[in-house]
């Protein structure tokens, strides 16, 4: 059972793409890979106002991730709290994980030649903080949620 998720309050989201850059700069990623993204559907007129819904996507941190068993070097690891992350020391950049992922979430960092993906900024989470995208969201639309079993 995953302990965390990132929730987007669509009413507050303004599609400014801040989260994408907050993430990239925190992970010091070069031009190329991006670990989260904001998308929106084409506009539709609702009661005279053209509207759309925003969607935020990073990694789903699946309960039973395909990317973990396929990794030949055991670099892809699912933690107790559900966070799926890549041990950069073990990763050889073969990108088998990306092939196994139904959404091709893991991407190649062209500078390190290793795979990168969202890990909910686990170093920050472990230090009691929130992921970069949530911490700096321009309109406080993103929330880092701790799930509890009912």
């Amino acid at each position: 059972m995953n302990k965390y998720m990132i929730y987007l309050n669509k009413k507050r989201c303004i599609g400014c793409h801040g989260c994408e850059v907050h993430c990239k700069t925190n992970k010091q990623l070069p031009v190329g890979p991006y670990l989260c993204e904001i998308r929106h559907d084409p506009l539709v007129s609702v009661k005279g106002v053209p509207k759309t819904e925003f969607a935020f996507r990073s990694c789903y941190h699946c309960d039973d991730p395909f990317c973990v068993p396929i990794c030949p070097t055991s670099a892809m690891i699912k933690r107790e709290d559900g966070i799926v992350y890549i041990d950069q020391d073990k990763c050889v950049g073969c990108m088998a994980c990306a092939g196994a992922c139904p959404w091709t979430i893991p991407q190649l960092n062209p500078e390190t030649r290793k795979a990168v993906k969202c890990d909910y900024c686990m170093d920050r989470v472990d230090a009691g903080m929130k992921p970069a995208c949530v911490t700096k969201c321009t309109t406080h639309a993103l929330k880092f949620v701790t799930l509890t079993e009912v």
Binding site: C16, V21, K136, T138, T139, A141
Partner: protein, 704 residues
């Protein structure tokens, strides 16, 4: 070593408060100041790290070797560059007088430094970029309220209804106000949005008026008419604080909602329904008077109408309305010292103050210097120092500007990046980026006024200098040292803070010094003397306009329709770029590498243009054109095409930005003289362009 420093962002001129973490002189984290923004920051703010690391910016002073704009530069030391400029300035002073030097900047809290420099040198000609930004709004506010456009702040959080005429605030971000607006909407507040196209701001609206381009004034008049007819105004407030209301009632009679609806291409019943909402929400209704309203021939009058709508609401100094910003004096404390030198008693070359008496003399109007360059009347203009200002990116028709600037013996650009103007200059002085420099302390007025300061987070990556040092060094060489009483920034801060009793250490805890614990409000029943107009009241009829031979209540004139195959060019901003400043930023260019052309679906279909096609966009006289992808959408008026400003740059050293996208200002050929005689700003949306499906759309491709 890890460090954390509070500072002020510099990616755009909103200057949000930030906190920066560094390790071994590298920026590792930037966030919005937790005390003021709860950490919130935009994409541009985070991309500050990429600005510091960007090698495609000037890395040491450069002096031109070849012809202007040829891009052949000699790398020189700072003393050499300072000497070069100072020698030229001395020579110009001797030959033409000091008044022939103009200095332009981007306004803001540190302009007194630049102003002091040019005034001390002997020239009255300090100017800024505002003729392509908020000048119409500023002059409109002055004429009605007797205070400039920053004479009010907007209590959006507590408002019930925010009305935005083209103020696309979720793309032209101001995080503190954006957060307030979101909170207002969450509390059930209403947002009415007026524009020629749907925007990120309009998406959040509860009511949207997609108007014909150039008809904002008509809609505002229609609203005034209906509000007066329904007696939905605050009569008590008007009796007490407003003059000219009867004349307004007489004037507005002809501008019915039915008329406005027809003129704007919207529904009459929607205007009436809007006014019904206003009746429910008053006085907590804010009509934003506009920001960059340097757009249509009547934008000044549109802004005046928006100010008049606020007057009708009686929302001044009311919770959820327009509030008067408070300063140190309101907190019973002394303000800071600022560099200062009285303006020399010489006529301004732009004519402001003597030829044009109804304009604010402070920064004048930068576009009116071109006439002086051309005619040498009242005297020749021989040098232009641009401090972070980029005339070629801001004002129309850089092609023509170049010919006029060729009258100058010295052109200097001081900027963190290569500006289009800088590329044409004789000297480029590279300023350190905002993360690599300190700035003087500034006062931030508001309900809770505070002192704030920008602090250096890292040492400069290249051989760049902060502005305080650049101006000090130039001043020393020109024997103006007495006006710059410091050697280090610490000296300057100490001198600034001396009357206040604070020290620079007081800024370390939160990044600012709050001058009051509780918000300060004036008594709304006692607002006499708050308005700087001749009568001390809010004036619907302005004597200043009258004296200048201009009407206070101008009859509406319908904007011309574009000729067949042509479109009115409308520009704007995106949330990930700041005009031309950030186009070459690696992380922002990754998000938005080029602009596109928005075109209405029906209009596109007539021209055989499909979504994603390449389109050729050409100036009316054919002198400039570019090719970009079409964004075909229902949600733009058929008369208009829209593009994001700042693209189409022509600096070869900016790899990512070079020739990427389309330059709106280059399409405004022949429009340098098309300006608002009443408001002073340039009419940037009075250009028409030809749009064709590009022949560059691939049909087949052969490789030999």
């Amino acid at each position: 070593m890890k460090k954390s420093v509070y500072s002020i962002c510099g990616m755009c001129t909103v200057r949000c408060p930030i906190r920066v973490e560094t390790e071994d002189n590298k920026v590792t984290w930037i966030e919005g100041n937790q005390h003021l923004l709860g950490g919130a920051l935009c994409a541009k703010g985070s991309a500050g790290t990429a600005l510091v690391a960007d090698t495609e910016r000037p890395q040491q002073p450069l002096i031109r070797e070849g012809g202007r704009g040829a891009g052949r530069w000699q790398k020189v030391s700072w003393p050499t560059a300072y000497d070069y400029i100072a020698d030229k300035m001395k020579k110009i002073k001797k030959e033409y007088g000091p008044e022939s030097v103009v200095l332009s900047s981007r306004g803001g809290p540190w302009q007194n430094m630049y102003k002091t420099f040019i005034h001390a040198y002997g020239s009255p000609n300090y100017t800024n970029h505002d003729c392509t930004c908020g000048r119409n709004t500023h002059h409109a506010s002055l004429s009605v309220n007797g205070v400039g456009r920053k004479g009010f702040i907007y209590d959006i959080k507590n408002a019930k209804h925010l009305v935005l005429f083209g103020r696309n605030m979720f793309a032209s971000l101001q995080i503190a106000l954006n957060l307030q607006t979101m909170d207002m909407l969450e509390n059930g507040g209403r947002l009415t949005y007026v524009d020629v196209r749907q925007t990120m701001t309009g998406l959040k609206a509860t009511r949207f008026f997609q108007v014909r381009p150039g008809t904002d004034y008509a809609l505002a008049l229609g609203m005034i008419h209906e509000i007066i007819r329904k007696e939905a105004f605050d009569g008590e407030f008007i009796d007490k604080y407003v003059t000219g209301f009867d004349e307004l009632c007489y004037f507005i009679e002809q501008y019915t909602p039915a008329w406005a609806a027809k003129e704007c291409g919207i529904k009459e019943k929607a205007i009436k329904a809007f006014v019904e909402e206003v009746i429910e929400d008053r006085p907590k209704v804010i009509f934003h008077p506009g920001w960059n309203l340097s757009r249509y021939k009547d934008s000044f009058y549109a802004s005046r109408a928006l100010h008049i709508l606020n007057i009708l609401m009686g929302n001044i100094e009311q919770k959820g309305g327009l509030l008067i910003p408070k300063g140190p004096g309101d907190c019973g404390v002394k303000g800071i010292r600022n560099l200062d030198c009285p303006k020399p008693d010489i006529k301004r070359a732009d004519g402001v103050g003597w030829k044009y008496k109804h304009f604010d003399k402070g920064p004048g109007l930068s576009h009116l210097f071109f006439d002086a360059m051309r005619t040498e009347d009242p005297y020749p203009v021989k040098a232009w120092i641009a401090m972070r200002h980029d005339p070629f990116c801001a004002m129309p028709d850089p092609q023509r500007q170049k010919l006029l600037f060729d009258q100058c013996d010295l052109l200097v650009s001081i900027d963190t990046h290569y500006s289009e103007f800088g590329w044409y200059c004789d000297v480029i002085l590279p300023e350190s980026t905002y993360l690599e420099r300190d700035n003087p302390i500034c006062v931030q007025k508001g309900l809770k006024p505070r002192l704030a300061v920008r602090r250096k987070a890292v040492e400069p990556e290249f051989d760049t200098k902060p502005a305080w040092e650049i101006f000090k060094q130039l001043a020393t060489r020109l024997d103006l040292d007495e006006y710059f009483p410091y050697n280090t920034i610490e000296d300057l801060w100490k001198w600034q803070l001396e009357p206040t009793g604070y020290t620079i250490e007081d800024f370390e805890e939160k990044g600012f010094v709050s001058l009051t614990d509780e918000p300060i409000m004036y008594d709304p029943d006692n607002l006499e003397n708050q308005f700087g107009t001749p009568s001390g009241k809010m004036e619907i009829l302005s004597k200043k306009l009258d004296d200048a031979g201009l009407p206070s209540l101008k009859e509406y004139v319908s904007p011309i329709k574009p000729a067949k195959g042509m479109f009115r060019l409308v520009y704007g901003r995106s949330a990930v770029h700041t005009h031309g400043h950030t186009i070459n930023n690696p992380l922002l260019s990754e998000l938005m590498p080029e602009n596109s052309l928005w075109i209405n679906t029906r209009a596109a279909s007539k021209l055989g243009i499909n979504e994603g096609d390449l389109v050729d966009v050409t100036a009316e006289d054919g002198s400039y054109g570019g090719t970009v992808h079409a964004n075909v959408t229902d949600f733009i008026h058929p008369e208009a095409v829209y593009t994001v400003h700042g693209f189409g740059r022509q600096i070869p050293l900016q790899n990512r930005a070079y020739h990427a996208g389309l330059s709106d200002q280059k399409l405004m050929s022949g429009k340098l003289d098309d300006w608002d005689q009443a408001g002073g700003a340039i009419n940037l949306c009075e250009s028409f362009v030809v749009v064709r499906r590009s022949v560059r759309n691939p049909k087949r491709r052969v490789e030999l």
